[in-house]
Symmetry: C2
Subunit: 396 residues, 2 copies
């Protein structure tokens, strides 16, 4: 392969230097963190209102407003603001009925929270591979896998090998790019699985006009500091199901039974409500979401142009039929240069360019490596070949 | 009994009116909520700094500063800021080694989070009575109870009836008033119990010069909107034990193993870190804590004077040997008027005076009523007789 200036870049060092130089050329000087928030709206105004009115905690007008405006944006009848995405996933799994000892189908490619939320609910992650196209679970692969791995037992399905019930599936929209959640919903129905969408990374991403998070029973967003919009720490749950929404809101507020003065709680509940001061940030950020997505699309185009003829690999583009928020820009290295991944990451970091790999496959982590898992060749290949690129909206 | 004006107040209605009128006389006009925050310091300045620097999430200078300043204030070598008190209790119980199926001794008098945190850890609450003096667990009662209820088994102790190991105790400092945590620590040692202090309500409260939260293995504070200081939502863990502190911090940050770019996680961890924007509020609030406590002491004196000769009951004062933060002012009704408690609460609420009872005894709530429990006559009596009074610092 040839570098920009026509020289051979076959050594690891030169490949790494090419990557760093290309990123420098796209980004100019300081690139800050990997995905830094941009506060260009009414953040200060709204947060100041919280302090002036005294409403900073789990009850307040910005919580209601954030929930209403988020619901309107994604097209969900119900949205519940929670303390972070992990808590939202935990709450969703409990609410759809995951019981201790149940297995929950999870992609081996995700941030660890997808698996730890399953453990928080008492469930056991059961890992599957992802599609090389969407980088999320593929519906047809899933059907074939479940047909081979499960057997029916009464109204539910059990893992042939462990004998444990498999009661739910979590699909994740990797780096913001929608997976085939409509197809997965069909397969979930065939195997009586509850379907939770881990949409932590995909606020603003649509698949055939349906916002991510709405194809299954529950969808969960994250507003951590590195997400498309941030509330400092926070998350939200969306659902079409009114009774599920009521149950999740009840569980998120310590399962307190409404009463004028008594403290009665009818279930083991959680303290998972988003504080008003965090929701204030969220309302201001949501107002800028369309702009943030335009910026990410522009940043994608910059990267796409810069890497086009370099031979290092392809910048991840949205899949057919989807509109992605391009949360985290990513370069899929060619197999030829992928064995230089670590050196490329190190050189970029040495030169002040914030990059990172994908997450280690969850089925290789010590707390999860004994969990049930399919072979995951696509996950392993993506992990070995992807480098995530600086993706702050300010870079566009 | 006689009302202020010398008339008999033997009917429920007149007792209730006397209470409402007395509270009106102490509080003047608007009394707002039961315990509203007071933002009289640098809250806006610090929160604005977060927005201007972009540090709003789980890493940031205010998180470090809040931890350091909180540790200095309470005299703890280690403090870890977390997302709320419930999460802090959960993390503490996991970190001290509570295993699924273990029983954890818990007072039947507490906010439900004390019990739900035990369930989150997989443990089973085992309820005990409290002292009529401190309203928290009494060390001598505890020793007698555990001697009767447990038998030794190897290095640990098991519940004679259920056969389950009893591995930890949580003591709570009710309404901010310290219980005898030093004495409880001795008893915990005798029965090989780990000791977690639920100090959610007691920031600023000391027992013989030791701040609450430091007598056991771990102490947990809450900074919910109704607490002495608030971070919107938030909590903190303090400990003297460096290895326990390191373990809790690791668990609170998804158990991520430090690495320049890899995402490796060596335990099932949690997403429990306090965001920087919430910590910014906390730093500003902590600067005002001594003033807030003086205000609460002044408010206590006002109430004490107002209720002195009314015959309704006594305003809760700090126990001998303790300095209380007087988080929530409380009136202990005389047995003669206590059967009018509900009417008194209702009339006050009707007249816009925010009051509430104590929490329903935890061993009577449906999710916990089948858990092991001693008889709890003191808890039942306090629940029947206590009315919590408006306690915002602004009222002093």
């Amino acid at each position: 392969m040839l570098s920009r200036n026509g020289n051979s870049v076959s050594t690891g060092a030169s490949v790494a230097e090419t990557l760093a130089a290309t990123l420098h050329s796209v980004l100019g000087g300081e690139s800050g963190g990997l995905h830094e928030p941009l506060f260009g709206g009414k953040e200060k105004e709204y947060v100041t209102q919280c302090i002036e009115t005294g409403y900073v905690s789990s009850v307040g007008p910005f919580v209601d407003r954030f929930e209403a405006e988020l619901a309107a944006y994604v097209g969900a009848p119900h949205a519940i603001a929670v303390v972070n995405g992990t808590s939202g996933l935990h709450l969703a799994l409990v609410a759809v009925g995951v019981q201790p000892g149940d297995e929950v189908i999870v992609p081996a490619l995700s941030f660890v929270a997808t698996a730890s939320a399953v453990r928080l609910s008492g469930g056991i992650p059961h890992f599957v591979d992802v599609s090389p196209d969407t980088w999320g679970i593929d519906a047809n692969y899933l059907r074939d896998y479940l047909r081979a791995a499960l057997i029916p037992s009464g109204n539910s399905w059990i893992n042939k090998i462990t004998g444990r019930p498999v009661t739910a599936i979590v699909a994740m929209h990797t780096l913001g790019h929608p997976c085939d959640s409509a197809g997965i919903a069909v397969v979930a129905g065939e195997f009586s699985l509850k379907f939770v969408e881990d949409a932590a990374e995909s606020l603003g991403s649509f698949s055939r006009d349906l916002h991510t998070g709405l194809a299954g029973d529950v969808g969960v967003f994250s507003f951590n500091g590195n997400k498309t919009i941030t509330t400092g720490g926070g998350g939200a749950i969306v659902t079409r199901d009114a009774s599920l929404a009521a149950r999740m809101k009840h569980l998120s507020t310590t399962a307190k039974v409404p009463h004028r003065f008594e403290f009665d709680h009818d279930l083991v509940g959680y303290n998972y409500r988003m504080p008003n001061i965090n929701a204030a940030l969220g309302v201001a950020q949501l107002e800028q979401l369309p702009d943030f997505i335009l910026r990410q699309r522009a940043l994608y185009s910059k990267y796409e142009g810069a890497f086009e003829d370099l031979g290092l690999g392809d910048v991840r583009s949205e899949s057919p039929g989807t509109a992605s928020n391009y949360w985290l820009q990513a370069l899929l290295l060619t197999p030829e240069v992928a064995n230089n991944r670590d050196q490329m990451l190190s050189v970029c970091l040495d030169e002040g360019v914030p990059v990172r790999p994908l997450w280690k496959p969850l089925n290789t982590l010590s707390p999860y490596r004994d969990c049930p898992s399919d072979d995951t060749p696509v996950v392993n290949d993506l992990y070995a070949r992807v480098i995530c690129l600086p993706s702050s909206a300010s870079l566009a």
